[in-house]
Symmetry: C2
Subunit: 342 residues, 2 copies
């Protein structure tokens, strides 16, 4: 039951990390006429702070210069690089996946929460609370090979659409953040995802969406087992047992275990990112940058913070000034939210 | 006691993974006069097989072409990238570390196995078997911050010398393997360490030794905990509890959890690498390369395989032909073993 509760926690507290190009020389040499690297950002304090930080840390001879090997930037995913409303997108995947798997499970026609889900009655399905949710997650995320799970995610990303926008979920990524990732990489930063979301759920699509390679994704995970089939073919099976929850205090832990270096740049949007931001920005030596994406745009995206069940942001708002974390006001700081916006 | 036994296992079964440069274009364009990328390799079958594989997989239009993003190469460490005799170097670190820590532990003067160790009597110290060894490992690898542990490793690497060669341990790396790592990276391969050794023990020195960044090191680990001290300073503490054993069937598991992509190239030297080699070379699609460094040189290094307690190689030798794994005969294939050799 402990495992089950932890499993639930994965989906109830979803949250990235990247590539490094050694073009430091380019920065250090004669400046050339440059186009704006962050065109979807309004000319406000947050944009200026980002550009100042990157300029300072990549200008050789500057007091704040950071060698390329230490330019580690960590990004939360849900709510920071893509939307997370009205439910974490990985939960939407799990609910949809029940329908895909139904033909192999005739018994679900008479078994809750699957019966209700298959009848399109989400309210009844989730009335079973945590237990129902965990059952849904269990059957959709374990008991198959890693390859089979990857295919299920890729199929879903290619076909499912978001109930509000009608867009594919991987289109609901934040254009200003994509520009920020590219800008950092163009300046020698290695970008990572450090997310509460499932690592196996993110890897199939993040490279294309964000330009972040699969090995630079840190996330929550369940255990897996290597085995050789009777015909001699090896496979890796996903087990219904928690391995690691990459959220809250788990984020600095994940950064240590998977990246092994303290970041100089971190971006998040909820209190699940508080510890990551704190770990990043309280280190001595180099300059550090902490950023919080504040969801303030009820028209183009969603507006929520302190009272929200998803992506709750309270401690982060209270302590942003104390830690000098840069608040990014989505409504006023971003010209554009999604790539598909005009 | 389970944890303790597993802990022991870390040191009793030590075993790597890298960087990616997108110079695929360079390979695809007009060939230029090239110096030998593997000068410390004799012109024998193993060298030819490596060069053929790299050429085939990086020549655009070739049937075996592999896109840069899929050029994942995994290397075991102990016995594959550096020596592992007469004991795993991490164990030598642990034994030395007891002496460093002794002033803070006056009680050790009267307590085995520490008393014997401090008197230079290794035989008596290790007479306590597993229990004694585990105690030594526990006190030297946990109960401190990650920063303090890193400093202890760095200090050891800078000062300790090997009993046979008198060289620093990080000088006892294999020159032909360094050339292989560089050759692969120069051809767009991202090189990783996938080792049974402790990841926190490797990270402080592998970037300088092998050119492999810290986040591209997969290894065994103990759990860590994030906490904020009373003065508000956060720290990560190493706990005396096993997190992950990256050996045998654990290697494909580690590759999945940390890298998230099936490698196309793997190199090892012992049966601890068997599953990694099997997982790598039985995949379909791209060409795959499996390599076993065979310790055959009792003069320049050590000669051991089937009967060895450290780096036992039996299944690997038995099945190398079946899986088409390339055996590298250290004595006949390598012109030079260590960088310091003439």
């Amino acid at each position: 039951m402990k495992t089950i509760q932890l499993f639930l926690f994965i989906l109830l507290s979803l949250c990235w990390t990247g590539c490094q190009k050694e073009n430091q020389d380019q920065v250090a040499t004669e400046p050339v006429a440059q186009t704006d690297p962050l065109p979807s950002w309004n000319d406000v304090a947050s944009k200026k702070a980002i550009v100042d930080f990157v300029t300072k840390t990549t200008t050789e001879g500057s007091a704040g210069f950071i060698p390329v090997t230490d330019r580690i930037a960590c990004f939360d995913n849900d709510g920071t690089l893509w939307s997370e409303q009205p439910m974490y997108f990985q939960l939407a995947f799990a609910l949809d996946q029940v329908k895909v798997m139904a033909p192999q499970h005739p018994e679900w026609k008479n078994k809750q929460p699957f019966k209700a889900l298959l009848e399109g009655d989400l309210r009844t399905a989730l009335a079973g609370g945590e237990k129902a949710l965990v059952e849904i997650i269990m059957v959709t995320h374990s008991g198959m090979t890693t390859e089979a799970f990857e295919k299920s995610v890729s199929d879903w990303v290619a076909t499912a659409v978001h109930p509000k926008t009608g867009k594919h979920y991987n289109e609901m990524i934040f254009q200003p953040m994509i520009e920020l990732l590219n800008y950092l990489r163009a300046n020698g930063y290695k970008t990572f995802i450090v997310s509460g979301g499932g690592v196996d759920f993110m890897r199939p699509w993040v490279e294309q969406a964000y330009g972040i390679p699969r090995d630079q994704v840190v996330g929550s995970s369940i255990k897996v087992k290597y085995e050789v089939k009777e015909d001699g073919t090896p496979q890796i099976i996903k087990l219904p047992e928690l391995n690691f929850i990459d959220d809250k205090e788990g984020k600095p832990v994940g950064i240590h275990q998977y990246i092994g270096k303290r970041p100089v740049f971190a971006a998040g949007n909820s209190d699940g990112d508080y510890a990551m931001l704190q770990w990043t920005t309280t280190a001595t030596g180099y300059p550090r940058f902490g950023m919080i994406v504040h969801h303030t745009d009820s028209v183009r995206e969603w507006a929520y913070d302190r009272a929200s069940h998803i992506g709750k942001l309270e401690k982060g708002l209270d302590d942003a000034a104390k830690y000098n974390w840069q608040l990014v006001d989505m409504k006023s700081d971003w010209k554009k939210v999604y790539p598909f916006n005009d």
